[in-house]
Symmetry: C2
Subunit: 148 residues, 2 copies
């Protein structure tokens, strides 16, 4: 479990997430849900499948989540259970430099999600999700081709 | 200077480099050099320019290198002086999980570069550079578009 790791290991994982990870939330239209949307948060770490062995070692440190290999040769390690996301983010928060605001806002979203009683609560949650998405995404995607 | 940082900060930087950084070396044809090639090593960290302030904070921790902003909105922080690369890699090596082999081989290349006396030494160095490049690159580039 990530909360039992040493500070050094938590700091490493915070750096890895800051460098290449995504903290991500969607409001998916879904009529099975009470207010017509499913609020789906994710944490995803990416790596080339060339590094599968070492990346698996890293993901085992984290201890929850699941790995999948995409057809384009990219490994995705996904954490999508609310309790796991919360524990993960709380453990690495003190060490993050680049994603501190995302982590704070995501924890706020998870808290709000848990406390929903009315449609206006849900509306407030949707607004938090929107504000998160505008924090997280730029129009330009990172192009990692080396230029020197 | 990176070697004076705490273990926690070194571990964070190792994680960041493992997630999104490049340790990179080229043998550039250059007739000004004795054996017709310049051996040019680099360490590069990438980040979206949306995160310029926080990324600058991180880069200041490292303490050498320079930042540039590409036209496509990506910040590149580059370390290209041999002494700096060596100090940087030695400081983070104990904490790296995914790039340990790259770091070992790069330090070997820097040592070999320093000790060149003959053309056969240079030939051996070029072979090390080639073996590094085959370690580092897959044909497929990472496509970071989210799929969930």
């Amino acid at each position: 479990m990530v909360k039992l790791l040493s500070e050094v290991k938590k700091a490493y994982i915070a750096g890895f997430l800051d460098g290449d990870g995504s903290i991500y939330v969607r409001a998916k239209p879904n009529s099975d849900y009470r207010f017509g949307f499913q609020i789906a948060p994710y944490i995803i770490l990416f790596q080339s499948s060339k590094e599968k062995e070492k990346f698996t070692e890293l993901c085992k440190l984290i201890g929850f989540g699941y790995m999948r290999e995409r057809k384009d040769g990219v490994l995705e390690y996904t954490i999508n259970k609310i309790a796991d996301i919360r524990e993960f983010l709380k453990a690495i928060y003190p060490f993050s430099i680049l994603k501190k605001r995302q982590i704070e806002l995501m924890l706020k979203i998870l808290d709000a999600k848990e406390k929903i009683e009315s449609e206006s609560d849900f509306q407030a949650l949707l607004e938090l999700v929107d504000s998160y998405r505008s924090l997280n995404y730029s129009k330009k995607r990172i192009n990692r081709v080396l230029t020197p």
